[in-house]
Symmetry: none
DNA sequence: ACATATTCGATCATAAACGAACATATGTGA
DNA sequence: TCACATATGTTCGTTTATGATCGAATATGT
């Protein structure tokens, strides 16, 4: 369950979100929305009243639902004529160039993700939305980070469930990873890797994949900080994460390009914030910055970033004046005080793109469709932890 | 202090930036913009009001968002077509009858390619096919490799033809390239780069693009040759081509990975086969291979590869026994005798993917769709110029 | 039906955003 | 140089957005 998201939105943006929530879930409760949007219930009510007046949704006691007949009102530009009851699909539906009369047997897509509590829920949401938009069904399996487990899940999905294609976020590092990829290669159904990439075959052809451009994401953070005048930008990243190597590469690349010094600048790999040793680690991180007069720090995973900022404040180090902090990942970064500047991989877009890619392949009739890889650019959300003035 | 920027811009430039910010982020806040642009809030407000009057964005309390029916009015509304008296701005009060959802209005896509006689016809075919599949219209313009020319074409497409989006294969190298990219950034319509990539903005965000993975394409060729036992794999590539750097990088990378020697191995950049000096160049290429006992050669552009093979045969050098040849590009490679093994960038797929990407963006209603880049994997077509016996 | 728990909405208070009017540049052309 | 248009910033009163309070209205369970 995601934390109450509280980036202060424009009134109009908020209403847009209310509308999206209604379309996605069919019905919404005032209080849920209020909590989610970080505003008072009365505000949500007023929003709903406004939207209802425009015919965009229907007010009911306790919340709102989809309007009964949308086409009659005609006031909505972007979503009309959706039969009520079927929520979704303001998603980007990528039509794979198939002609309209194509056999539209509804597809079943299998998805295996390494965890269900971090990062992936948003990806899954994107998958769900996009799948609903092309009336495909999604069968979800959560695996641990053990490759054997993943193979079991995958086998089941293909053989027992009979999915038409797979979205897989597998372990691709280490020996089991290699083996898993080789196993995937032999799969009977098309596969799209999600947030992973791999090459297969004797010549090292690329597998189909959808990934965030973490390299450029990290580079963007560095460029932002360099633009603010910082000469020494440090990095700390959780050792276990698959994205860490990419973040580090992007950080290095951008520092090189901008001729920022790297000698002595912290480049740390740490446990994550749930590890018992974390409190000590935070101090070490901060000490390393102080010792090397590093004035800006990119912190992989926003919970860790929040932790660093809090400790800085306890130690009398002002953020952003003494140390500018940018979080890599934007799940909870907005909730910190001050709100953290963060690089946000667009997780829903990843999910949507993965479905697009897989359905495009499944609909391909030519048979010589080459492997497509989609790279989704992260966004840099500038908040207060990096810029001195107000925001 | 000096946050992102402070250079005082021309009013018009500033408005372009406002517009760009809205297009990039979906919504913007007056205060954020004011700070970013280094002007007072009232100025931003006035800009927003002006732009809203032209229908280029929608005013909301606290900022601005994308206009509701962007594709309908936004692009060509500027001068032609529309009487001055009627600001289409309040088309925000949607016309009920005409637009029952944005998907219905057929799109017009503009495309500018650097040439019409090599490589691009197949890309264009892919574009045409995909566009027809989603009943979009394509307006094509050929430009030379001069950036000024491209800008003229692009301006015309946007302002006179009124395209909804652009597929552009621009010059992105050299100073004109930089400038062109900056110009593209301010464009009023979404853009997808084709076979090019670029980053924009203060943080270097990626532009939307569709490219062939020439790096891995070349690497695949090397892996193929290494798999056949070759220890020294040379490269020759035409100096003028934009793909050459990628091919070279892939070749180097694969050689490194496979621990193939690079010292003394030919790494040549040449004129193309229409240059008067080409016949001499071919001999030099072959001589370089003989001199360094290089037994395999990757040749950029298949006409050049054919030429090399023919000369080899004239000189009594057997292909593939004495020298294995792989062509990079597969337009005419199959017609050689022996047929050439070739790396084939899937040009039609490039075109199709570009249309998919652009239409997906044009249909996006959320406004926070991040930049997607599609990387299409080339295929290695193994023929007789690399494998000795029956392949 | 009754009791209880929510939910709703009128009203007021506060904060932020807005815009009219005026003031101050910064050019531009006679 | 002056007259004049344009562009921008400042002040201040007005409008909009939001939250808190509290009595009324609406569900829900017995």
């Amino acid at each position: 369950m995601s934390v109450p998201e509280a980036p202060d939105l424009l009134p109009d943006e908020r209403r847009e979100r209310v509308l999206r929530a209604v379309r996605r879930h069919g019905t919404v409760r005032v209080n849920d929305l209020a909590q989610m949007l970080g505003v008072a219930a009365i505000t949500v009510r007023r929003d709903i009243a406004l939207l209802a007046r425009r015919g965009l949704l229907r007010r009911v006691h306790g919340g709102a639902t989809l309007p009964h007949d949308e086409s009659a009102t005609g006031t909505s530009a972007d979503h009309s004529q959706r039969a009520h009851g079927e929520p979704p699909a303001d998603a980007a539906i990528e039509d794979p160039g198939t002609s309209p009369g194509r056999a539209s047997r509804s597809l079943t897509l299998g998805m295996v993700v390494p965890s269900l509590d971090y990062y992936w829920p948003d990806v899954i949401r994107g998958v769900r939305e996009a799948a609903a938009g092309s009336s495909a069904r999604v069968v979800l399996r959560g695996a641990t980070y053990e490759a054997a487990d993943e193979r079991q899940q995958l086998t089941r999905l293909v053989e027992a469930v009979g999915v038409d294609g797979l979205l897989v976020a597998p372990t691709t590092t280490g020996p089991e990873g290699e083996e898993l990829v080789r196993w995937l290669e032999t799969s009977a159904v098309p596969i799209v890797l999600v947030e992973r990439a791999a090459t297969v075959g004797p010549y090292g052809e690329a597998m189909e994949s959808v990934v965030s451009d973490h390299v450029n994401g990290a580079a963007m953070a560095v460029r932002h900080l360099a633009g603010l005048g910082h000469q020494r930008v440090g990095l700390t990243a959780t050792a276990g994460s698959p994205t860490t190597p990419h973040v580090r590469r992007g950080w290095q690349k951008a520092c090189d390009e901008l001729h920022l010094r790297l000698d002595g600048v912290p480049d740390l790999r740490t446990m994550d914030h749930r590890d018992p040793s974390w409190p000590d680690t935070v101090n070490e991180i901060i000490d390393a910055c102080l010792a090397s007069s590093t004035t800006a720090l990119l912190v992989h995973s926003d919970p860790e970033a929040i932790s660093v900022v809090e400790r800085c404040q306890e130690r009398g180090i002002d953020v952003p004046t003494d140390l500018a902090v940018v979080a890599y990942d934007d799940q909870v970064a907005a909730l910190c005080d001050p709100p953290l500047t963060a690089v946000r991989p667009h997780r829903e877009a990843i999910g949507r793109a993965a479905v697009s890619l897989l359905t495009a392949r499944l609909h391909d009739s030519t048979g010589d469709r080459p492997a497509h890889s989609v790279v989704v650019g992260p966004q840099l959300i500038v908040r207060d932890s990096s810029v001195p003035a107000g925001g």
